[in-house]
Symmetry: C2
Subunit: 201 residues, 2 copies
DNA sequence: GCAAAAATGGACCCGCAAGTACAGTTCGAT
DNA sequence: ATCGAACTGTACTTGCGGGTCCATTTTTGC
């Protein structure tokens, strides 16, 4: 049905679209932009995405969701100590600060995820998967005795994910990642068992 | 320059646009939709908003921001006791749950606030004002001895606002307000001095 | 009452971007 | 080598939505 060449082309289209959307936003990204950037024509685009724009957007959503999870994977799988959590926080904050409004995650949730129910399903699943990974981390940390054992891990994970979402949301509105940092710190303070340092920052 | 009648018309236009946007989203709301709903024609619209769509969007942003703050005002100004905080939380959660994706706040931040720097400035200011109000509440609660006095009120307020944002953001993606509730609960747990009940919910 | 300004109705224009048609080319299996 | 399927290029159509024009009606200040 599809040759390697076809697969490669399709992939190029999705990547181009994802990049374009990340850099300039969903609304302003046109199919011609995508074609230009991927070095293809509309005929290819509609060949691989017969349903047109919406279908492409969905593919981009899935692509970016995978990217986000892959990106987080190495950190999420060693969340067992306070230092690991703080390192993770630093990565997130620093990445958001650098990428600003081009953060894939932000674009994904706040932008792409609202183009039809299919895309929403993908983002919902992304949140779920992410939350699961965080939950595992919390449980591991509790097992290691570094986190408050009385906390419900899944609820705490939900709160963490929500907090990140909020930080990104504020980032998109104000351009500053400070809220993200502050709110995440608060989460960690609440999660990790109190030790010497209990002031801010 | 403008007669009462004109003011009324302008107002109708803004309200119609706001409603349309709340219900169906910014991108899909067309000027003709607004005209139809407000019972006016394009000529009026461009009479009152010579700069066109963008100017209207800005007016809507300001309008909705004011609505949100007015809506919150009665609750925000008596945040002094644990019960008051919990009542406030309930109002927010319940309101979001009912309105679902039509929550003005959510649309405002995640949707409208991204159409041009002017609108973004308005949402930024909204966040700032809201955060200030929450901060006042936190300080009052601390003074009343019901909140952890070692917390930096402004930072805590930032975290609270961020959390709400996140909850709304997740709501828009998944349609569920559960994350909002869980995350807000966690915030309150962290803010209010520990008492008898320390489990979840 | 009456000019001037404000308000309104509705037809019109125009550009853009999504989507289509179709012809031509490359590939891959036999 | 060849035939059919997969792939690609280009030119086109079309609908929609932002924005304009102007003629007409209403309101306001005096």
């Amino acid at each position: 049905m599809t040759t390697p060449k076809g697969i490669a082309t399709r992939r190029r289209i999705v990547e181009a679209a994802a990049a374009e959307i990340r850099e300039r936003g969903t609304i302003v990204t046109t199919l011609d932009d995508v074609c230009r950037r991927s070095g293809t024509g509309k005929s290819q685009l509609f060949h691989y995405f017969p349903e047109g724009r919406e279908q492409l957007l969905l593919a981009v959503t899935e692509f970016e969701a995978e990217r986000v999870l892959d990106d987080q994977h190495p950190y999420l799988h060693e969340l067992t100590s306070r230092t690991a959590w703080e390192a993770w926080r630093d990565v997130i904050v620093e990445r958001c600060r650098n990428q600003g409004p081009h953060c894939p995650l932000g674009v994904l949730i706040a932008d792409v995820g609202r183009y039809g129910p299919a895309a929403r399903a993908v983002t919902t699943q992304l949140i779920r998967r992410w939350q699961d990974a965080v939950r595992d981390g919390i449980e591991a940390t509790q097992a290691a005795g570094e986190a408050d054992p009385s906390l419900d891990a899944d609820r705490m994970a939900a709160a963490v994910v929500t907090t990140i979402q909020g930080g990104v949301s504020v980032l998109l509105s104000t351009g500053s990642a400070d809220h993200l940092e502050v709110a995440l710190n608060l989460c960690l303070d609440h999660l990790l068992v109190a030790d010497v340092r209990h002031g801010q920052r």
